[in-house]
Amino acid sequence: MEPIDLDLDENELELPSEPMHLNMGPSHPAMHGTVRIVLELSGETIVKSDVQIGYLHRGFEKMCERGTWGQVFPYVDRLNYVSPMLNNVGYALAVEKMCEIQVPDRCQWYRMILGELARMSDHLTCTGAMAMELGAFTPFLWYIKAREMVWDILEEETGARLTHSFGRIGGMANSPTPALKEMCKNTITAVLKLVEEGEGMLLKNRIFLDRLEGIGVISGADAIALSWTGPCLRASGVAYDVRKSHPYLKYDEVDFEMPLGKNGDNLDRFLIRLAELRQSARIILQACDRMADDGPVNCDDPRVMLPPKSDVYTTIEGTIQHFKLIMEGAKVPAGECYSYTEGGNGELGFYLVSDGTGTPYRVRIRPPCFAITGGLSKLINGAMLSDIVPTFGSLNMIGGECDH
């Protein structure tokens, strides 16, 4: 049968010319639960898109004003909930900057180890989910299996698999268990092996590469203008990593590379996360070697640290100190400060305003994926409908952080 438009000229064919409106609603398998994209399509091509977030706005900033400085830790955990330790560490560092406390070395190494484990968990989830959304279910299951191993360590250390609330102002909730170093070494070997297997499945797959390569391209200059940070920015070739540019904790004493991408497309963002996983593994192993096996984990500043329980139950000073810290909160000096660390998605900043009491006056989180999701519209306009899925997946928007 001959083609239907064989004899017609281009402009004689009547085609519907109104764009179609499509709603990729807030409940969608690939929208990570909480983003609504209202699209105007012309055929398969996206003409305009309106990215609507806020479906997981949980009032983090308002809730922080209703507790004490230490009661913010559980809320902070649930911001970037795939790498909660990084948020804990970021917030603890921010308050410590205001109180001008320096935690002991052992605590700094410990925070680095747990933080990098959280980062590994974040990258495993992101890459696994990206693969799953493109149809590759098996690498997702393998990466979740690897993530379970990482969570085993975190469960051993903090008691919880996901939302640990393990950071404290001036230290950590508990000291490292004796099993930490052994578990880290064994787990990292197993995790990296699983990552390699997953890569072997994906990176030679023609379909996978076609869907990621050259899609969602953004240049370095555009990314900086959009305030992107983290793996998405480094995929576009801009060498900015808070751990390298403004080292905190002991990041200047460990050896690790900062992988950079070339094209700024989805594939680069995917590969960068896998490369960063390996660098995190390097950091953890070095930190395990350097961390002392004994010594204090918490600083002993009585303004912020709870006294040992034996003192609380036997001495009156201990009781009063405990009471004041719990009921009124640690009295952070009045003023404001902005402290930033490298979160799973980029520069995670906390801007704290204190009025000198134990209750925060304002806790503002600078969410890295808020800025990144702001650039999503630019990436998908002009692309095809099915390109939204890998592009959005590669940005790693975490609803808790984006909508705080």
């Binding site: 806020g54 009032g59 900033e61 209703r66 940070t229 801009v238 404001e336 902005y338 801007y351 600078r366």
Partner: protein, 197 residues
């Protein structure tokens, strides 16, 4: 953070820079809202400053002050690796005159942050291409992060089910009765009263 930035700003803008400080190592300049955009443009374009990355924009409510809202902007330079914080104060007691120029055309990434500040704090950004609510829904009234918005005042979009409809008790016990709970030192933001605030 670099104090040179503050010196250059004071030299160039004189009276528009009302105050500067470097508390906790963060260099801060409080500027006049009318020169907000001019200062930002200078910081972005001047080769010595080159603040090419916009980091954060938010608003803080100080109801005891006049003007009450402080708009806080953090900037970063990827080349020179220095940061600065700019603040300006707008808005009177009833949130009148609470507006400042938008800096979206200087840094594209500021767009969503300005929408968020408008949504949660109520600052209007003049010249913003698309100033609407971003985290709250359009039917929401009020600006939640203001200190006089009670934290637990909900504005449900979907009417809640009644117990008759549900066939079982739905009201959950409030965590604290009126005479329980911690005494917060700030003005009480809840609808419930915690004794004398």
């Amino acid at each position: 953070m670099s104090e040179r930035v503050l010196e250059v700003l004071k030299a160039k803008f004189g009276d528009a820079v009302l105050r500067t400080h470097s508390q906790f190592g963060d260099d801060t300049a409080i500027v006049d809202p009318k020169s907000w955009k001019a200062v930002c443009r200078f910081l972005r374009d001047d080769p010595q400053m080159s603040f090419d990355m916009f980091t954060d924009l938010c608003g803080v409510d100080f109801p005891d002050r006049n003007p009450r809202i402080e708009v806080v902007l953090h900037l970063y330079s990827t080349q020179r690796r220095h940061r600065v914080r700019l603040k300006c104060a707008v808005g009177d007691e009833d949130m009148g005159g609470c507006e400042v120029d938008s800096i979206c055309d200087l840094w594209v990434g500021a767009s969503w942050f300005e929408r968020e500040t408008y949504d949660l704090v109520g600052v209007t950004f003049k010249g913003h291409p698309d100033l609407r609510r971003i985290l709250m829904y359009p039917e929401f009234e009020g600006h939640p992060l203001l200190k006089d918005y009670p934290a637990d005042r909900t504005q449900p979009l979907v009417p809640y089910r009644t117990e008759a409809e549900a066939g079982l008790p739905l009201g959950k016990l409030a965590p604290f009765r009126d005479d329980e709970g911690m005494p917060f030192p700030h003005r009480v933001h809840n609808a419930r009263e915690f004794g004398d605030s």
